[in-house]
């Protein structure tokens, strides 16, 4: 059980990575680079990859994630060792009245794949959502062919709640979209908090 007399220290810093604001001055280039990688794109986006210039990449992110929007929170994921940008993690469509939000994550820097960095970013975002924003649940959707991600989400405590059959069409066949969710009580129990 956690010591309830102490806060958890830096809420946005883990062992290998930390979460920072989305500074598009610095993030446009890595976003642009990741967009050239069709494998990554087809794991994070359900629309077809569209060739955006560096300027277009920057504009679309600035417009898509306005800083004054109270219902979206976008973090860059940075490696602790050199502060470089390796991905993003976000909350979108936060419903403050119902305490629910969707979340998304992408680790675009492939040298960081399979090292647990995504898992660590997830854990930080979950703690932020449940202990700082005090949300009641988090939702996400993931493509059925992304088994690695589904496995990781399950390790973080997400449960499969539904399957939208034949949701999208890629490589000549249709694929399901998997919906997952986690409740605050489930997360607290998994992470050693006293469950009220």
């Amino acid at each position: 059980m956690r010591d309830s007399t102490e806060l958890t220290g830096d809420l946005l810093r883990g062992k290998h990575i930390h979460l920072t604001a989305q500074d598009m001055e610095q993030a446009a280039q890595p976003y642009f680079d990741w967009a050239q990688d069709a494998e990554y794109q087809r794991l994070v986006e359900d629309g077809p990859p569209v060739p955006l210039s560096l300027k277009g990449t920057r504009q679309s992110n600035e417009e898509g994630w306005p800083e004054d929007d109270p219902c979206n929170v976008m973090f860059l994921v940075r490696a602790n060792e050199d502060d470089r940008i390796i991905g993003f993690v976000n909350l979108d469509y936060i419903s403050w009245t119902h305490g629910d939000s969707y979340m998304g994550i992408g680790i675009g820097d492939k040298t960081c794949w399979g090292k647990g960095y995504g898992r660590e970013a997830m854990e930080l975002l979950l703690r932020y959502a449940f202990t700082e924003l005090n949300l009641h649940r988090l939702s996400l959707t993931v493509f059925a062919y992304n088994e690695r991600a589904i496995h990781m989400y399950e390790k973080c405590g997400f449960k499969i709640e539904g399957v939208s059959r034949d949701y999208h069409y890629r490589d000549g066949r249709r694929w399901d979209l998997v919906s997952m969710g986690i409740l605050r009580g489930e997360w607290m129990e998994l992470n050693g908090y006293a469950v009220p």
């Binding site: 629309g47 009245t97 119902h98 629910d100 709640e161 939208s164 059959r165 034949d166 949701y167 069409y169």
Partner: protein
């Protein structure tokens, strides 16, 4: 299904789907949402005192886009030619062949009489035979069994349940996810 491409695609047994002026639909909408029962069946946002002017501006802004990502119709009765609700496809993805659908019959005297089901059947025909989509999705609150029955009559199947997705009247409720595939819809209407 219609075999005749010149038949009226947007006409059902009880209703037809039509355009409407921002002026008309904003006036009607503001009237409908005075009934908080309607609002809480239709939206998970808190009832909000929208003004007609605010709604009209919002509709006009949406209408300017005309990019066929969102298609909204007024639902009109065939008998009196009266607008009783609205229905729309939103977030259409042509690459995926998929869209969400939403329907609301704002005039409470028309509830439970098959008008919403008829409007849904018409828009599914539009989605599957004119836009050539592969699937249509929707979400519905677990406390709305009348809507769920209507959707199942149109061919939708239960695909998932987001547990405790929202809170009303002091308890949490699930959000249900339903979907229908084109071949299921075709078999359903054969």
């Amino acid at each position: 299904m219609n075999d005749d491409p010149t038949a009226d695609l947007l006409r059902g047994r009880l209703v037809r789907l039509s355009a409407s002026s921002p002026e008309d639909i904003s006036r009607l909408f503001v009237g409908w949402i005075h009934n908080s029962e309607y609002w809480r069946l239709m939206s998970n946002g808190p009832p909000f005192p929208w003004t007609q002017e605010g709604v009209r501006k919002h509709i006009e802004k949406e209408a300017e886009k005309e990019d066929l990502r969102n298609v909204f119709f007024a639902v009109r009765t065939l008998q009196e030619d009266r607008i009783i609700g609205e229905i729309g496809l939103d977030g259409i993805s042509y690459a995926r062949g998929e869209s969400y659908v939403g329907v609301g019959i704002g005039e409470a005297e028309y509830w439970g009489k098959g008008y919403g089901t008829d409007a849904m059947n018409v828009i599914l025909r539009y989605a599957f035979t004119e836009l050539n989509l592969h699937r249509v999705s929707l979400t519905v609150f677990e406390y709305n069994p009348r809507a769920i029955r209507s959707y199942e009559k149109c061919g939708f199947r239960m695909e998932g349940r987001a547990r405790e997705a929202f809170q009303r009247e002091g308890r949490r409720w699930d959000m249900l996810h339903l979907g229908v595939l084109r071949e299921e819809w075709q078999a359903h209407h054969a």
